[in-house]
Symmetry: C2
Subunit: 357 residues, 2 copies
Amino acid sequence: MTEAQGPRPRPTLRDIATALGLSVNTVSRALGDKDSVSASTRAAVQAEAARIGYVPNTLARSLVLGSAMTLGLVITNPSNPFYAQLISSIELRVRAQGYSLLLLVTDESVENEQRATEALLRSAVDGAVVVPVQAEWDHWRRVRDSGIPLVFVNRDVPELDCDMVGVDYERGSYEATSHLIAGGARRLLLLEEDLPITTTADRITGFRRAMADAGLKVSDDQVRAVPTKRYDSLALPWQPEEAYRFAQTLLTDGHPDGVVTGNDYFALGLLRVLAERDLAVPSDVAITGYGDHPYAAYLQTPLTTVRLPAAEVGTTAVDLLLQRLRSSGERPRKTLIRPELVIRASAPHRQAITIDR
Amino acid sequence: MTEAQGPRPRPTLRDIATALGLSVNTVSRALGDKDSVSASTRAAVQAEAARIGYVPNTLARSLVLGSAMTLGLVITNPSNPFYAQLISSIELRVRAQGYSLLLLVTDESVENEQRATEALLRSAVDGAVVVPVQAEWDHWRRVRDSGIPLVFVNRDVPELDCDMVGVDYERGSYEATSHLIAGGARRLLLLEEDLPITTTADRITGFRRAMADAGLKVSDDQVRAVPTKRYDSLALPWQPEEAYRFAQTLLTDGHPDGVVTGNDYFALGLLRVLAERDLAVPSDVAITGYGDHPYAAYLQTPLTTVRLPAAEVGTTAVDLLLQRLRSSGERPRKTLIRPELVIRASAPHRQAITIDR
DNA sequence: GTGAAAGCGCTAACAG
DNA sequence: CTGTTAGCGCTTTCAC
């Protein structure tokens, strides 16, 4: 019979040291691949470490080193597919660089975000990647001022001049709009989220610019804000429902011949209303989505939409953060990554439309 | 002019102590709401702490307390909407209980999972919620044996008898199948993922059991495994494509009158093939999905599907884990939460079908 | 009620 | 090359 099982306390450097008749610190150096250790000692130490299953205690290590080798990720809603991909790419990159990742979900709530900053401070993360709620930012200032570098992702907080990496939403919206116009649409509509965030604002700007460049005027009622709950990550994001209800009220008198939507869910709700009204897509109304969700290509009418470079955004954000950790001096960098218009049947190429005529 | 800005070192207990002429440990107790401190001292300490923006150092605290107040979440793929919701619910619950959450993404790779266990051990998490890859589990044994309680989620590793909480996939599949049969389908097909995981196996069992209970025989070619890549969380999960290709080869001779699919993406791919073949849903072929993704209700033919209780699974998992942290003695508990069949047009109620006849 | 001392596990100085 | 000393920031004895 050996010892009883029971989770015995985890081995420490001292266990190895006493077992081998060495000092704790020699063991530390042997394991740390420092040079000032004889080959034989190192071998013995490593053997013993392996034998007893020694795992370094990151807590103690971090305390003395002054770095937890941990980064924070503060995100609003993992159920948004774009953010889900962002999480994956960020986690991958962070881990590849030897850091751990602390996850905080804010659910678009400022209070949650404030608590998240507390957690970041307490945990003494080395830095954080943040999708800000964008309603207040004093708590972020506090984090930054206490020496924790921040990279804002997808949405910026210009007041704090931190690094930022996002998507060129304006451009994506510009291209989608221009594409509809090139396809022959003239009476356009923009269906946007009713949220006070820059992504929405940028898409509106892109829409307006594309219209202006085509010599089309934009009246106020061509830009519609769909009543949008700041949606709950615990429930499924029922945005199609909101767009569906809204679109029902939208098409009472006449109809647009092109609709740019701010996300694929809106397009989904809109498509249903159009089907109910016997309006054909794209011949009566051409539609673009935003996001290129996995289902977009497989709808009855495959959706023309703007594909977001999620992985690239995430990777870039982590890289920026790690650079910043090495040299804090440089000026903040703002990076916008260009999304890609994916053209499918809901708003096909000009030729395809022409054939229909 | 005050001091230059620059991220000065974060305040410690000693800063408060010296400022107030107290000892470090009096300050500690004052902040920790211990009783053995005079009211006036406590007030002074708290005031000073607030003034200089003191934030306790979790690292140091954890080191002496022997608990990092951190739980790990090891998950395969955040881009799977079910897991995305799981992440949200788990994070919420974990944070509500005063713990932090360390996130590890494995992308269905055993190697990543093994590295994840190393990270868990180094970080000295108090416990972990794990969606296991289910190919090997020696590394999990090691974690458990070093005293870190594990709760497996969605998939079990029975060899380790840890706590487990999942979805009753078999039942969901049974209900979906029975529903199709009740609607009049007789020539049924099951389209499943080709992955060696228990969730898939359970759904197959449920299908077979429902068929048997209805007195229907199941030949081997009625259970089809769609070639499924262990899909990449960095790319979008292109499972519709796989199901689409597969379904094209499926309907060459005759067609089933009911198809149970193992996930909503398969249903999407299948729907397209059916449309291409001019087979009507549900009158020619009734279909059920699995997962109730946000788009399911908004397809041209709204999808009857099995809704997964993601939030409940996540919350339960965390609660189990925290209980286990308090009393490690009890026997492992396995909990299956029942999913809900959501009936829509792709496989309507019996009456609706009857009317069509 | 408060302070002094010790230690969590580890690493960075410095001796030898 | 190796050991000793010191200390990261905090909490828990135990005196006073």
